[in-house]
Amino acid sequence: MRVTNTMQHIQLLKNLRNNNTGIIDWQNKLATGRRIHKPGDDPVGVGYYMRYNSEINRTNEFLENANTGLGFLNTMDEMMQQTSDVLKRARVLVQQASTGTTPDDARQHIAAEIQQLKEQLVMIGNSSYSGRYLFNGQKTDQRPYSLTDPANDRTDRGVYYLNVSPNVSVPVSISGEEIFGEAGAADNAFRVFDEILAHLNNNELDLLRADMERIDGLSDRVNSVWAEIGARTNRFELVKERIQDQLVSLKDLRSKVGDADMAEAIIELTQRENVLQASLAVGARIMQVSLIDFIR
């Protein structure tokens, strides 16, 4: 084979070009710690990488949703505790009032306290979380219960859903009527309180004894709603834990697809550096030598 100077040039430049391309590639991987910089680096991997990024962003939002849901439910839980306390106190008072030994004027005092308890219940019914009424379904801007006639106030039955994973939403809100009974119905808590007040004022002891059972009925309903709230809280807490686990595994997966293997990158880069140095040295050495150096 005839070798000319231009051939040596072309060969050297070609080798330098190839070596430098390899070096810049690995250098970029090493400097950023990432394996995929553009779709062409791994057309299949890039899809996964983008998916994991989206999922992580999305899952963070689901976590936020779960936190919001938990905030709501914890407040509701607190309210159920208070409702239960109110009902317990009311039962004690009604029991006290229903015995014949209690003097009539004492019943008046009891009536005053029952009135206070009723107002307490209205307050609970009107409780809010971050500026939104808890027990009025979707009409979060409207106070569900009035002080004057809460027994006949209708609450909205719309449900407030939060997404906790793709295609899975969990209901959060509970309508006031589910807790305190349907508007105007015989077992509506406010109506029961109104009637207890009337019975106290009229000293109707038999009816007061029956009222104790009605209070028990109210407690049962509150307890079942409370249990429902507890179940939802558990669900959100489980979801939250799962989301946190998921975030870890998603980040792990993303790292597996998208991160450069540092050890490999360093070794590859060093290897290519050596080759580059060798090719530079060879070029410098060969190009210096010519027949001209040896003829006088």
Partner: protein, 524 residues
């Protein structure tokens, strides 16, 4: 009968011929680094010996040599390698242009990154979750509108980028056509010079080198076919059109882009196709998101404001049961889960009611040109919504207060359904990507993966062709390139021959001196 001065004449011829050979060595060395130069060789041959056969010839034995002459100076070149080089070079340049355009598109799409379209879309979908968390919250609405404007701005910027790329390519096409025309004109002009030179029986080596170099350069721009007949007729067909016929030439026009099968011009044609392709894909994604037909389910029911048809059996608040496919009158409150067929994001948003005045049928996205088809360039967030975030219709129910319609503030049924669109499987136009149905996110990922495959392919093709072209070029240099070592050796050879011829002349001179000046002087 030989002449007295025969020896002098022989040496003179040798000196002159070796001189020529040395001059040619010098020419080669001078052009060792000249692009397109082919090394030249002086073809030496012995001159006619004496005596020529004939009746008058002497009876002296043997034939006496008369020295050396050169017949021609020729260049060493393999036209088959030229053919190969030009073919590969045209392909190489086509793929280089295509690769660089794909690189630009990849840079424009900017994936995977934390500032590309994917991340902007993530933010948009996430802000819908925020709205669903608290539909009455002003900051949630501002956040959503901000994210949506960010999304449309990003899409618009992609279109602007693609357009800039296209106009750059158009300009490059014009520039390349002009450059090709200058080359074509020069090739035709050189033909005249070569013709004239070779008519005199000489080889037009340097002119031919120049012409070959110009043809090489032309092969970068467009695929060419060179036809040279033994009679010296020379023509070039570029992109199927004869552009050079001897000294006549036909300039290329911008239309040559459509006929070019190789070279940068073909690369530009493919580049424009790549841009159109990616634009069509992105347009399909945008239009499908905004307009694509989809079935949505509203778990909490819905309050109709006009006559509607549901896909399932529904119960109204007053207990009426309306079977699937039958008209639900305006103003009915549906209390069971209801399914509707709607046209994409806009169609679903049109179902919703605005926060304050209960307005409905508000498109979330609008087009800047009023067209019904959404594209990268024309998609905008409805200006009304931008100016008044209360018009984000998150609610699916309203109530009548007095005579006014008022949306239920805490109702986020529509916002909730909008967040669900992210997981809905849409139908996409066929033949654009490997994906004909999938979520919007899936489609974008498929599109990016697809782009990656094509840019990878272009990079590999360009790399392979670079190697092939380099290899052919190496072979060409092997045949035609100047080797300085070789020229040095030749130089020594001719120098020695020259010196020896001069010495020979001196010897003949001394011989004649002896005869003329010193002979017949016996005893003097």
């Amino acid at each position: 009968m030989r002449s007295t001065f025969h020896g002098l004449e022989t040496s003179k011829r040798a000196i002159l011929t070796q001189h020529t050979a040395l001059l040619t060595v010098g020419h080669n060395i001078a052009n060792a680094a000249t692009e397109g130069y082919s090394r030249q060789r002086v073809n030496l041959s012995a001159t006619r010996p004496i005596e020529a056969p004939g009746m008058q010839s002497s009876v002296a034995p043997g034939q006496l040599g008369t020295g050396v002459q050169y017949d021609s100076i020729e260049r060493l070149r393999d036209s088959y390698l030229d053919l190969q080089y030009r073919r590969e070079n045209a392909s190489l340049n086509m793929w280089l242009v295509r690769n660089s355009t794909l690189d630009s598109i990849v840079a424009l799409i900017n994936e995977p990154s934390e500032s590309g379209l994917r991340s902007v879309m993530d933010k948009f979908w996430n802000s819908l979750e925020v709205l669903n968390r608290d539909p009455g919250l002003l900051s949630a609405r501002i956040d959503l509108v901000g994210a949506a404007v960010n999304l449309t701005d990003t899409l618009n910027a992609l279109e602007t980028g693609l357009q800039a790329l296209e106009s750059d390519i158009q300009q490059s096409i014009n520039r390349k056509v002009n450059q090709a025309n200058v080359l074509i004109e020069n090739i035709a002009n050189l033909h005249t010079l070569i013709r004239r030179t070779e008519a005199m029986g000489n080889n037009a080596n340097d002119f031919r080198d120049q012409r070959d170099l110009l043809v090489d350069q032309l092969s970068s721009i467009i695929d060419i076919q060179v036809i040279e007949t033994p009679e010296g007729d020379y023509s070039i067909v570029a992109g199927g059109v004869t552009v050079v016929a001897n000294d006549a030439f036909t300039p290329l026009t911008a239309d040559s882009v459509t006929t070019a099968a190789g070279g940068e011009l073909a690369g530009y044609r493919y580049s424009l196709e790549e841009i159109t392709y990616i634009r069509n894909q992105l347009n399909a994604m945008v239009n499908t998101l905004v307009n694509g037909e989809i079935t949505v389910r509203l778990e909490n029911g819905y309050m109709t404001s006009s006559d509607m048809v549901a896909l399932n059996e529904v119960r109204l608040a007053d207990g009426t049961i309306i079977p699937a496919g039958q008209t639900i009158p305006a103003g009915s409150e549906i209390v069971t889960p209801v399914e509707f067929r709607v046209n994409g994001f806009n169609g679903l948003h049109r179902l919703g009611y605005a926060l304050t005045d209960g307005r409905t049928d508000i498109p979330f996205f609008t087009t800047s040109d009023g067209s019904g088809t959404f594209t990268l360039g024309n998609i905008r967030v409805n200006a009304e919504i931008r100016n008044n975030t209360n018009l984000v219709a998150a609610s699916g129910k309203y109530e009548i207060v007095g005579t006014d319609r008022v949306a239920i503030r805490g109702n986020s049924d529509i916002a909730h359904a909008l967040t669900g669109l992210r997981d809905k499987v849409f139908q996409f136009p066929a033949n654009l990507t490997s994906l004909s149905s999938g979520t919007i996110d899936d489609y974008f990922r498929a599109l990016v993966g697809d782009l990656g495959t094509r840019s990878n392919n272009a990079l590999r093709q360009a790399g392979n062709l670079q190697n092939v072209t380099d290899a052919v070029n190496m072979r060409r240099q092997e045949v035609s390139g100047v080797s300085l070592d070789e020229e040095m050796a030749e130089m020594l050879r001719f120098q020695h021959a020259y010196n020896a011829a001069a010495r020979n002349m001196t010897t003949v001179d001394e011989m004649l001196d002896r005869i003329i000046n010193n002979m017949g002087l016996v005893g003097r």
